[in-house]
Structure formats: C-alpha cells, structure tokens
C-alpha cells in the first residue's frame, strides 16, 4: 500500500480514478462508499531537499556555534549565535537556533508553536460552581477559587478566547459563598 496515494477511509483501497474534486459525493470504485475528496496541489509537490551545512574552508572563517566544523550562514535572531544552514530554523520569517525555538515553545513566547494549554479559568469556574451541589464543600473550595484566580489571572485563557469572564464569574460566586459562610458563622456565634 503506497502512502503517497489517497485511500478510501472505508475499504483502504488506493484511489487514483475519477473520484477527486467532484461537486458531490461519488462512489468509491472498490467498495461503493460515498466519498467526496478534494485534492490540492500540495499532494504533488516534490519533497524539499534536506539542508546540509557547508564545511569551513578557511582558517578564521565564522563557524556555527553548534557545529564548529560548519560554516556560519547567519546569526540567530533570538540569541545572536552564529548558525550553519543545518541549525537555521526558519519560523514565520525569523531565523532562530534550535535552543531559542525550543525555549520559545516551552515558555509560550512563540504562540504559533504552543500545542497545549491548561484552562485555569475553567478550573476556577468549575471549582466555584460544582461544589454548590453539596454546599458544605464550598467552605474549602471558595478560598481555593480565590487562590486559582489570583495565581493564574495573568495566564492567558484559551488560544481562541481572550476574555477572562470565567475568572470574574468564579470570583463573584466564591465571594458570595464566603460571605454566606461568614454570615452563618456570625449567626451561630451570636446565637
């Protein structure tokens, strides 16, 4: 089974025939399953050639920070280290070394490399709302909500959501719960 070809998702037969870029569903020639397949030019783009660093030829020629035997072609835009063609990672028009790229990803500085985020706003909201079902838990969870909101307020929410409304709702609910507990304690203390 060639991986370069497109296969029917149902019968896994390789498709070459007349099923591509049709306006409507067309039957798979092998299993007759209705398929709608759109193929784009990237399918036929030849694979790009792997880059190799050029060896240093002359004494005193600038060499790569990571590969001293390879010729430097440009400096890293993050740290300024000289890089060979092999170490030059181009990302959105920027030329970075592997270390800067990695630190940009782990520290969340390069947003387009982020591949996961913890939704602390959802955690705060759940922590504020779910314990209401068993109200006694709120005496513990309300301060926890305050901690989560204060600790993670500056952490950006989801990649597609910029607002912090969940944090705001969570803190309002938590403050109401804490106010309720204070009222209960005062009422019990005063008899």
């Amino acid at each position: 089974m060639s991986t370069a070809l497109i296969h029917c998702p149902k019968c896994k037969a390789a498709l070459i025939g007349e099923v591509f870029n049709r306006d409507d569903f067309a039957p798979c020639p092998s299993c007759a399953a209705p398929l709608l397949i759109e193929v784009y030019p990237a399918m036929f783009r030849p694979p790009s050639k792997a880059r190799t660093g050029e060896a240093v030829m002359m004494e005193g020629e600038a060499s790569c920070f990571y590969h001293p035997q390879k010729k430097a072609v440009l400096p890293c835009e993050g740290c300024g280290r000289f890089l060979c063609a092999l170490c030059d990672c181009e990302h959105q028009g920027q030329h970075l070394c592997p270390a800067c790229l990695e630190s940009g990803r782990t520290k969340g500085k390069i947003k387009s490399l982020e591949n996961a985020r913890t939704r602390y706003d959802n955690i705060a909201l759940a922590l504020a709302l779910f314990p209401i079902l068993i109200f006694y838990f709120t005496i513990i969870t309300a301060p926890m909500v305050l901690y989560v909101v204060i600790r993670y307020w500056k952490t950006p929410p989801g990649l597609t959501q910029g607002s912090r409304w969940r944090f705001v709702v969570a803190i309002i609910v938590a403050l109401l719960q804490m106010g309720g507990w204070v009222a209960v304690i005062i009422a019990l203390a005063t008899g």
Partner: protein, 191 residues
C-alpha cells in the same frame, strides 16, 4: 475592537466519554494561514495546526450514523407517543409525554443537522481525523470557506488533471525522504 485571531468553523463535538464533568471535545477554528484543531480534554486544550500550504487532501465519507440515530430516537418518540394515546391514567400520560419529548429533541436535532460523514485531513506527514466535521452540511460549509484560502496558498487543480498527476507521481522514481521540520516541533541540535 481588535480583530479576532481565530474564527469558529465548527461547534465542539464530544469525541469520547460520557461524563458531564470530564469529556473530550474537538472543534475547528480558522486562523489567518491555518486551521486550528482544538481537542479539549478535561481542563487542558491541545492544539493542532494545519497550514493551508501543507494541506494535501480533505476526504469526506458519508456515514449512516444519522439514519441509525433517526431510527432509534424516532422509534422511541413514536413508542412513547403511542403509550400516551393508549393509557388512560393522567400521570402516566404526563410521564410518557415527557419521555417522548426528551427523545424527540435529538430526533429533531438529527433531522435539522442532516446526514453525517467522517472527515479526514491529510498533510505530508499525517492523516488526521476531524471529528467536529461530522455533518455533511457543516463540512461542505467549511470546505467552501477554506477552499479559496487553500487555493491562494497553493493554487488549484481541476478534477480532470488529478488522475494523470497521480499516474505521473507513481511512475516517477522514488526520491530520498526529506528531513521534516514541522512548525509545531522544535528539532534538537542535529548531530
């Protein structure tokens, strides 16, 4: 107001689990030069980016899930409706009426959303299932939306030229596999 970085293409679709608190949901967003697939698992979001320049093919396979769902929920609605008509007890009528109403909601929803499909998105390095494009109507809308963006990034292919391009690709001698540097992963320092 600042322009939104991402536009929602599909609503979240549950892909695993039955719990109310913790489920896996998947949805698709449209970015400036890519599609962003978000998989929400508990309180963590995982991101996958599909750049328009890299998308090789999108495959839709029509499934019979909508039909099965329609038969099951429709059958149960009809059954409860018959029970409401058959019994004389007022409380019983109310109970079966409510149960019938509960079954009618997914039945009607299924009718409104239309036929179902399975969607796969292919790039040079992966074939990714897109669970949120599970309805034909929605999938077509998304395709119509992204088709010009992909064409802008890659150009266009006609239905007639694709089979010949595939035959050419099969006939061409195998090339050396490329070293991939996907934007989502920072490579370590090469040896």
């Amino acid at each position: 107001m600042a322009e939104k970085e991402y536009l929602k293409l599909t609503p979240p679709r549950r892909t695993a689990g039955f719990a109310i608190v913790s489920v896996t949901r998947s949805n698709l967003w449209l970015g400036k030069d890519h599609l962003l697939g978000i998989e929400t698992e508990g309180y963590t979001e995982k991101y996958k980016r599909f750049y328009f320049r890299d998308i090789q093919a999108i495959t839709l396979l029509r499934t019979n899930r909508a039909f099965v769902l329609g038969v099951v929920t429709g059958g149960m609605t009809a059954l409860f409706a018959l029970l409401v008509l058959a019994i004389d007890d007022v409380v019983g009528k109310w109970v079966f009426g409510i149960l019938g109403g509960i079954c009618a909601i997914p039945f009607l929803g299924n009718l409104i959303y239309g036929p179902t499909c399975k969607c796969e998105l292919r790039t040079a390095v992966q074939t990714e299932n897109v669970p949120s494009m599970s309805r034909v109507r929605r999938a077509r809308k998304v395709l119509n939306r992204i088709r010009p963006l992909i064409a802008e990034a890659q150009g266009q292919l006609t239905a007639e030229e694709i089979p010949s391009r595939f035959r050419e690709m099969i006939a061409a001698p195998a090339t050396e596999p490329p070293i991939m540097q996907p934007p989502g992963s920072a490579p370590g320092v090469p040896p």
